[in-house]
Symmetry: C2
Subunit: 502 residues, 2 copies
């Protein structure tokens, strides 16, 4: 075969594997939103069969051979589609090839056991029931990082699965700067005598009206409902069943506005990214999201920088008052704006406000790092957790269930995943700044309910890049800057200065 033919064969096979992956996504989506309860066992068989087929195709040695041949002619700096495809797939192939099948299988079993143990331990509020499973997970992940190999730290290998080509030492230094600035800001806010009336958003908001209002907001920012859906699940998510089929979910609380509404904006932000990827490259690195951090930057940008801005509510608040007259008829815009931006240190990450959220993430990142350097033992995790919450947020978990056991991630073996949440916040602030500079009157546009220029900026500077560039290269090319916590801090300071008269 000529190199051109080899490349085309590789692309065809990869796209075909992506078709199977997209079908697996549908099986997962259906399981979480539609499937009747008794179908669970057979659904597991369906997913197992498909996963097996996908895995077989991914590690096929012929594929490795094609990739190696093609890579010889490619410069590692190239951003041509074909080159990007070869380099990204080769990297993934070589990484997977290094992990022994025995380890894959052991890890897979350990996750199932650990997940169930976590569910039970969290219910019983007993970390010790979960600890041996977590030890196994950490042990197996260490074997994995050893098998793959690393230069600076084992944790880099874990991080690379979610935030490719990002060094944990870089993350650590930006997180430490962020923490150093966030802690005093949150103290200042706590000491302010201004307190938004947060009861405003805890009034009756009929669910049907929340659905209509949330859907219209998702539409307004650009989420295409002819190429997507919005459904209800307890744990909100965004999943992609095809290049024109992005499905998001949310949950409704009839006495709380924020959960569903900002949840919808958040997932719609993820959805806009997926809908903005190059559809003709679906299933290839050129049509795939760059990293989880970049993905999260899109959801946080729309949820917070847009959705929690004064400008946004200048446009949407009168509409919200029409939709929820009982709750909002006599509320002034400023009070509502304060209520949706109220800052209060709390125990649970997923319920945290915009200012404290990153601290929850940084705590997990620090603990994960310590576990993998060996500075921290699994059994000492609850104490270390509680101490860090006390130091960073000034609060002490009332139980392990509301502390170290609150998140599902570790039970599923997801180490190196948490930092992408806070990276998302930082990227978002940097993107938003640059978009505002490029567009000029972004605030005015948002206040008119006009989101096309912002979306277009994100489309061309982020979405359309796919995985052609690394996260740091996208950041550099879109903003002219490298990773920094400054734009995030400037943004937060400005917002809270107004609300809390800092």
């Amino acid at each position: 075969m000529t190199a051109k033919n080899t490349l085309q064969t590789l692309i065809d096979q990869t796209k075909e594997t992506a078709v199977l992956q997209s079908i697996e996504e549908l099986l997962n989506w259906d399981q979480r939103t539609q499937m009747p309860a008794k179908a669970a066992n057979y659904r597991a068989e369906q997913i197992t069969l498909l996963s097996g087929m996908i895995h077989q195709r991914t590690v096929d040695p012929r594929r490795g051979q094609y990739l190696t041949e093609l890579a010889e002619e490619v410069s590692s700096q190239s951003d041509h589609d074909g080159d990007v495809i070869v380099l990204r797939l080769l990297k993934q192939y070589e990484k997977e090839k290094k992990i022994p099948l025995r380890l894959v299988e052991e890890f897979s079993k350990a996750r199932v056991m650990a997940h169930q143990a976590w569910v039970d331990a969290r219910k019983a509020n007993r970390f010790s029931d979960f600890a041996p499973h977590l030890e196994t997970i950490v042990k197996l992940l260490r074997e994995k990082t050893d098998a793959i190999g690393f230069q600076e730290s084992a944790y880099d290998v874990l991080l690379d699965d979610y935030e490719p080509n990002t060094k944990s030492s870089d993350v650590a230094s930006v997180f430490s700067a962020l923490k150093a600035d966030l802690v005093p800001l949150i103290s200042e806010i706590g000491e302010s005598s201004c307190r938004p009336d947060s009861s405003i958003i805890r009034r009756p908001f009929p669910i049907a009206d929340q659905q209509t209002f949330g859907t219209s907001a998702a539409k307004a920012i650009g989420f295409d409902f002819e190429a997507g859906r919005l459904d209800i699940t307890h744990h909100p998510f965004c999943c992609t069943v095809g290049p024109k089929d992005c499905r998001i979910t949310t949950r409704y609380d009839k006495n709380y506005f924020n959960s569903a509404f900002f949840g919808i904006l958040h997932e719609a932000g993820h959805g806009l990214y997926e809908q903005g990827l190059r559809a003709d490259q679906f299933g290839l690195p050129t049509g795939e999201y760059c990293s989880l951090g970049i993905h999260e930057s899109q959801s946080r940008l729309w949820e917070n920088m847009v959705g929690r801005s004064k400008s946004f509510w200048k446009h949407f608040f009168p509409l919200a008052q029409n939709s929820f007259p009982q709750a909002l008829a006599n509320v002034p815009l400023d009070h509502f704006f304060g209520a949706v931006n109220d800052v209060k240190p709390s125990l649970i990450r997923v319920e945290a406000d915009e200012a404290t959220y990153s601290l929850h993430v940084i705590i997990r990142f620090e603990l994960e790092q310590a576990l993998f350097t060996g500075d921290l033992q699994v059994n000492d995790l609850p104490a270390a957790w509680n101490q860090k919450y006390q130091q960073a947020l000034g609060i002490h978990p009332d139980s392990d269930s509301n502390g170290v056991l609150q998140d599902v991630h570790w039970s599923e073996g997801l180490f190196g995943y948490f930092p992408t949440y806070a990276l998302g916040n930082l990227y978002a602030a940097q993107f938003f700044d640059s978009a505002a500079n490029a567009i000029g009157d972004l605030d005015l546009q948002i206040a008119k309910g006009e989101f096309v220029p912002l979306l277009n900026w994100l489309r061309s500077n982020v979405h359309q890049k796919g995985k052609s560039l690394s996260a740091s290269d996208i950041l550099q090319s879109a903003t002219g800057e490298s990773l920094s916590h400054q734009p995030m801090m400037t943004y937060l300071r400005e917002k809270y200065a107004e609300i809390y008269s800092l």
Copy 2:
């Protein structure tokens, strides 16, 4: 391999193929109920890839070899699971093997073209636009019947795809007896001075209340909503996504009671059959429905023999009055019973009442037969259609769209399919008779809303048999009789004698 090992290998492979088929069912279900519009193209790619894999596995020559080896040791009369599996799969394999790939592909293309042509021709009310496509379909089907071979008639081969081991001459003779009795019955009804007030069921029935009421009725007759769902589609259907995952749909008309309610009972009847098959044999002939006629017998039995009976409404009418006070508060049970059983010859099969329905089907069967004997040419179809409607039902189609072009089946190459609808009616009446004899006070039980004994009788006499027996053998073993139109006629005469004072 020993014969036992060969059988196990065959079973494992067949079950694995069934997993892929069940995933394809989910893709289809999702497409018809959930999928966003723009996802259609990629959905086609997903389905095409999966179909290809399924086809490859089905015609795998190693499979044929296993089957041939195993079949040598099996008696064709055996009803042991292993033997049934081998015989049914071998028959299917040998049938498919005889059809040249060229023909499969040509037919597949012809169907796509014919379907679109049918949609357009129906809209334009111009049969001549559809005729050449229908000619191609008939020509290719004749090639198929020639390739497979037959003893009595080519039509037998077509029928065998839907009603295995059933001879069209047998169907023809029972249909002709049925027609000879139905035509005068319908005349008598037409001449009766009693006329039910059919406006009762054309009053406002709020859709949300129809959903609740219909769902509760489906639950009451035994449809398991933890192993199934009910959704909304324009064309109602029942599909099976796994052994504990049967999904039915209906459509709602806010000013018409029958469409959704009897549609739900009909599809739930199909669903009860699917839910009653042996779950551990899912994907094998032992856990598969016997024939389309037997499938239809279950839907028609619950829709009509149960759901349109006086006993049924003795229990459900007070509940219906509670659910639909505006429409039914002051309606006597007898009037309602008459209204849901009103007989009136009409042009459209899917809207036909219980008495005239089979005549619609018999007309199609007669025309299909004539097309395949060569006694009728495609171009003469509209005239022959209209003449038969005049003769059997005393009405003349006002257009081809409401006549020969009304059904989708022929455009999809489904010849030999229609007769299973009327066979379903006949089987249903025979089953219902025998169940009533076996149970004793079936009417009383139905009047108390007690459906378990009837369902149990169907479970053990029909559902649990799967494809182990042919339709005629199931009929024989369950009722002690062979196919007959008498129970159906007795049942109809009795019902209409009361309503129309015949």
